[in-house]
């Protein structure tokens, strides 16, 4: 029982980080109907940037987030303007799979050149400290990571729901034609939306680098998890991504502690398949459009 609860705690804390990565991915899908296969690579790029800022300048990975998010925001906007905007809108969804996969490979190549392919990790002085609460161990880094993710998701929520620009994003997701007719410039929303998605990847990347060792090829593993989460939650739904991340991380943490860690990786996909059998659109997906 102790191991189970410990597993659940770990699962919830991990879910926060995945929720943050996945919220950016689902936002990009919601706005542009683009499945961004480079989201994982952007997370890893964020992790490398945090790593570099830490090793070269001693900047704490959490404090580096304002810098890395801005950098990745710019990368995201450039990817949209250079590679996605030229695609014809009729087949943008299909072609974007290839284009964003190519972007992922490009980023991977660049990262391999700069940082080589060996594993890196960000070893802060608090990397191994933990608290014990009622006999349960809570790693400090994971707790901070979780809180930061909540904070970032909260900011994203406020941006989408309380600002004029956020309303324009949601309007474009829910009905692009009407949004255009009301004066929303969809190209601009797309570029900024892609930038925001990449910025969430950067914030998550800082945290990811603190939690796990990573290398330039780590994004393959990440993107398969992220896709599971956003599909489980319903493509285009930010709330769904959060719930999807919770369901998937908690269940795999439970499996790891109750059965064996060997099976926990597979739990991701088993949960996904089970949910899709019952609800083909995912938990919060709508038939045609995103749900933010």
């Amino acid at each position: 029982m102790h191991a189970l609860i410990q597993g659940i705690i770990l699962g919830i804390l991990t879910a926060g980080v995945y929720a943050l990565m996945a919220s950016g991915q689902t936002l990009i899908f919601g706005i542009m109907k683009v499945v961004n296969l480079a989201q994982g690579a952007m997370v890893i790029l964020g992790a490398y940037l945090a790593f570099q800022l830490f090793t070269s300048f001693g900047i704490d990975p959490f404090l580096a987030i304002p810098i890395t998010t801005v950098a990745l925001f710019v990368v995201g906007v450039l990817v949209q303007l250079l590679f996605l905007r030229p695609l014809r809108s009729d087949d943008r969804s299909e072609l974007s799979l290839l284009v964003t996969f190519a972007v992922a490979l490009l980023l991977e190549g660049i990262m391999s050149v700069i940082w080589s392919t060996s594993d890196r990790s960000i070893n802060t002085h608090y990397a191994n400290s933990s608290w014990t609460v009622f006999g349960y161990q809570i790693t400090l880094v994971r707790l901070w990571a979780f809180l930061l993710s909540l904070f970032a998701l909260g900011l994203l929520y406020l941006l989408l729901n309380r600002t004029r620009f956020g309303r324009a994003i949601r309007a474009s997701v829910q009905n692009p034609e009407s949004a255009t007719l009301l004066g929303v410039q969809s190209e601009r929303v797309s570029a900024i939306g892609f930038g925001l998605g990449a910025a969430t990847a950067a914030a998550a990347g800082s945290v990811y680098g603190l939690l796990y060792p990573f290398n330039s090829g780590s994004h393959y593993d990440l993107i398969s998890r992220l896709l599971s989460i956003v599909i489980l939650g319903g493509l285009g739904s930010v709330g769904g991504a959060v719930i999807g991340a919770l369901v998937i991380s908690v269940s795999s943490a439970i499996v790891a502690s109750a059965i064996s860690p060997i099976w926990s990786e597979m739990t991701f996909f088993i949960v996904l398949l089970l949910v899709l059998l019952v609800r083909p659109r995912g938990l919060f997906g709508t038939a045609a459009r995103g749900a933010i």
Binding site: R164, R167, E177, S178, A179, T180
Partner: protein
């Protein structure tokens, strides 16, 4: 009655979808303060005409002017800045935004929402006031149509393009909506309405044009068209032969 000042002029526009010519040289005018109806069967080109005016489609040939200024070629999101507001067919509200947020989106072209405009829209549509916090997707069809029109009004339109406002609505609601359109018109908003429901549209309209397979085949005042045998046969469902 003196001729109203010309607000919109459509000259010989041709619109193509690939090899298909959806509009084959359509010309008409809309005067300031008028209600003009575009009538015709499915596929006649009514919606295409409106979409071309609102910048969602480009004419291959021909020109469109608004207050004498050429507007074909201006992207859709800029046209609303001139006061052209298009309510497309099928009640395109933002389903997962509240009624209030939908109305705020209507005023997107202004940096802030004009509370007097909001009040006016809510007076025009008391139902929307009752449901102001409700998600738009949960409204009935008629309420969604009211919201779509109300949202357009938030953009302070000078020319309102309405596409099939009666589609799929109960007769009572249709009558209500047309009554409101008349009210909107009396406040100085020019209206170009596309309708299959010719009887309703023509009682409201000052003038009408009838489109058939991409061409205007008939035009006249609302009253003239209502009395026209061809209209009665084709759109009002009357059997001329039997009468």
């Amino acid at each position: 009655m003196s001729e109203p000042r010309e607000l919109l002029r459509v000259t010989d526009i041709e619109v193509r979808y690939g090899a298909i010519r959806a509009l084959k040289g359509v010309s008409f005018t809309v005067g300031e303060g008028e209600v003009v109806a575009l009538l015709g069967a499915n596929g006649a080109g009514k919606t295409t005409t409106q979409k071309t005016i609102s910048g969602m489609l480009r004419p291959a040939v021909g020109s469109i002017t608004f207050e004498g200024r050429r507007i074909d070629g201006i992207p859709a999101h800029e046209l609303i800045g001139l006061g052209i507001c298009h309510v497309p067919e099928g009640r395109h509200v933002f389903p997962r935004m509240t009624v209030h947020e939908n109305l705020e989106m209507g005023a997107f072209r202004f940096k802030r929402v004009d509370s007097a405009d909001l009040e006016r829209v809510l007076e025009l549509f008391p139902r929307l006031r009752e449901r102001i916090k409700q998600q738009a997707g949960t409204l009935s069809g008629g309420e969604q149509q009211m919201l779509a029109i109300g949202r357009a009004l938030m953009g302070k339109p000078r020319l309102l393009l309405l596409d099939e406002p009666s589609m799929g609505l109960a007769p009572l609601i249709v009558a209500q909506i047309f009554e409101i359109v008349r009210e909107i018109n009396t406040t100085g908003v020019t209206v170009l309405v596309v309708e299959q429901n010719a009887a309703q549209a023509l009682t409201l309209a000052d003038r009408g044009y009838v489109l058939e397979t991409g061409e205007i085949v008939l035009e006249g005042t609302g009253r003239e068209l209502l009395a026209d045998d061809r209209i009665r046969a084709a759109y009002l469902g009357e059997e001329i032969a039997a009468s």
